[in-house]
């Protein structure tokens, strides 16, 4: 297990609220001091715009900004920093793709394939894209044990066809907590249609497991800084360079043009083509500190820690509350540190409220994933999720809170 006492001392929020039990890192993570200080450093010491000034502090800001791009590229093992685009969040990264790539390649009767367990941000843009262009929107279902139903021998046969131009899916579901075999899925999909574009929503993966884009064999991944100890308002889109080059710009404006004349404009090459306007400079500069922090802890340790917490929570909930608590998603072992559950007859909002009265933060609702809730026949669920600053006492407190729910509302 990680040394949680030590880790918590790196997160200022725990000095402010020593009794905070934060079990909603799937929504957003807490921020370590090094990240907050780096944001401050930019604003206090070189708060100039990037790429524009021929003066010291602008050059410093630009250097720091571009250094993060290189660090992100190394972090996900991209071939080049030019494949790393800074956006506002995962949602924007995916919408950028639906527009800049989707509108260009999707035609009538083509297929766009996604899954039932997507966050709305990787569902709605594709549903709309397909509808606008007369394409077929296909949805991969889940099996009764809560994993993706990938067809016979996970071959994607009958799901992905030669007409499928885009396959887009999540790496780790933010509700079911299952981890999808992306490498195998990408390989199978490309076997059926070598020209298919495979997009991965890695919002829940990048903060929790080692992601190697070259090893995965996909074409794009999207993730958010704020879920991986970084600042809010910043996302990343990684894409294969040749595809990025072929895509339309998303926004037009400053920073993304080579030259503008009265009747035509020449755009810069990626990544700048997709970074119109003044970006979240402070955020980008601070993101490198979250990456350093995670790498210093070590992926093996982070994964082992979350696994231990998840298994402890699943065991203990089953033991203390029996069948009253129903966990959504697969059982051990394909369950990452995200536990969505129902506790009938209590409504998730009431449960979360009583948790809140005990200083415990959990999520209640459909977690921006209505399709999977509908599929499972539940209106809403509660969700607790774990990260590096959680320990077993947090889970013990959550279980006491569940018993408190019975006491208050029972």
């Amino acid at each position: 297990m990680l040394n949680v006492t030590h880790i918590r001392s790196d997160f200022p929020i725990f000095s402010d609220k020593p009794n905070l039990v934060y079990l909603d890192s799937t929504a957003t993570s807490l921020k370590p001091r090094v990240v907050i200080e780096k944001l401050r450093e930019y604003y206090e010491k070189y708060s100039a715009n990037v790429f524009r000034g021929i003066y010291g502090i602008s050059e410093k800001a630009t250097e720091e900004y571009e250094e993060t791009r290189q660090i992100v590229a190394d972090f996900i093992n991209a071939k080049s920093p030019d494949e790393v685009i800074f956006t506002r969040n995962t949602t924007e990264s995916l919408n950028l793709l639906a527009y800049s790539l989707g509108q260009q390649i999707i035609e009538k009767n083509d297929e766009v394939v996604t899954t039932i367990e997507e966050h709305h941000s990787n569902f709605v843009p594709w549903q709309q894209l397909a509808a606008e262009n007369g394409a077929v929107f296909k949805i991969i279902d889940i099996t009764t044990d809560g994993n993706l139903n990938l067809g016979k021998n996970s071959s994607l046969e009958g799901i992905v066809t030669k007409k499928t131009k885009i396959l887009t899916l999540t790496y780790i579901s933010n509700v079911l907590g299952n981890i999808n075999p992306i490498k195998e899925i990408a390989r199978q999909a490309k076997k059926i249609n070598p020209k298919i574009v495979v997009i991965v929503d890695a919002a829940q993966a990048v903060p929790h497991i080692k992601v190697d884009v070259q090893d995965l064999g996909c074409d794009f991944i999207a993730f958010s800084a704020h879920k991986m100890l970084g600042p809010t308002g910043l996302g990343v889109l990684w894409g294969r360079y040749d595809l990025l080059e072929s895509m339309l710009p998303f926004n037009f404006g400053g920073e993304m043009i080579e030259s503008v004349e009265a009747d035509k404009t020449l755009f810069k090459s990626p990544p700048y083509k997709f970074e119109a306007g003044t970006p979240h400079i402070a955020g980008v500069i601070a993101l490198k500190e979250s990456i350093h922090y995670l790498e210093k802890l070590g992926w093996e340790n982070v994964e082992a820690h979350e696994k231990e917490l998840t298994n402890y929570a699943l065991r203990k909930m089953a033991y203390e509350l029996g069948k009253k608590v129903k966990v959504l998603g697969p059982s051990y072992p394909n369950h990452k540190g995200i536990i969505a559950f129902t506790f009938e007859p209590y409504h998730p909002h009431d449960i979360a409220q009583i948790f809140s009265d005990e200083n415990i933060c959990i999520r209640a609702g459909h977690h921006c994933a209505m399709p999977v809730h509908t599929r499972l026949g539940v209106n809403a669920s509660c969700r607790m999720s774990f990260y590096i600053y959680n320990d077993k006492t947090d889970i013990d407190k959550a279980i006491l809170a569940l018993k408190q729910v019975e006491k208050v509302l029972g």
């Binding site: 409504h347 909002h349 009583i354 459909h366 209505m370 809730h373 209106n379 509302l409």
Partner: protein, 121 residues
């Protein structure tokens, strides 16, 4: 202070006016899609006043308690008077402080009532 005060819990556990009216003058259903709450409300109106009002709710304790309290209040009141009810009235009726997210649950029954008494809604 917890929002699960005795008054709320009482109306959650033993909701007043719970159930449907067979020959209602009007029926309303309202949803809060964010949390999957649903309220069905029926009304019988006589001489500009509420003769009978009942509801069925699927949802959290707050929306249910709020529906119970609101229907209890509305019974035998004049329609014109009920048209004036607003958010402040509900907060006062429940006697608890709700954040921006939970207030939606509390206001759902009022939405149903308004549908029943305001023409064209």
């Amino acid at each position: 202070m917890s929002i699960y005060q005795d008054k709320i819990l009482d109306h959650y556990r033993n909701p007043r006016n719970f159930g449907r009216i067979k020959n209602a003058d009007k029926t309303a259903e309202v949803f809060n899609h964010v949390c999957g709450d649903r309220i069905d409300m029926d009304i019988v109106i006589k001489e500009g006043g509420v003769e009978e009002i009942r509801f069925e709710a699927k949802g959290c304790a707050i929306s249910r308690a709020s529906a119970s309290l609101l229907t209890e209040y509305a019974k035998h009141k004049k329609i014109d008077e009920l048209k004036k009810l607003d958010k402040a009235f509900i907060i006062n009726l429940l006697e608890i402080d709700l954040g921006p997210n939970r207030i939606k649950c509390a206001l759902l029954p009022l939405e149903a009532l308004k549908k029943l008494i305001i023409n064209g809604q």
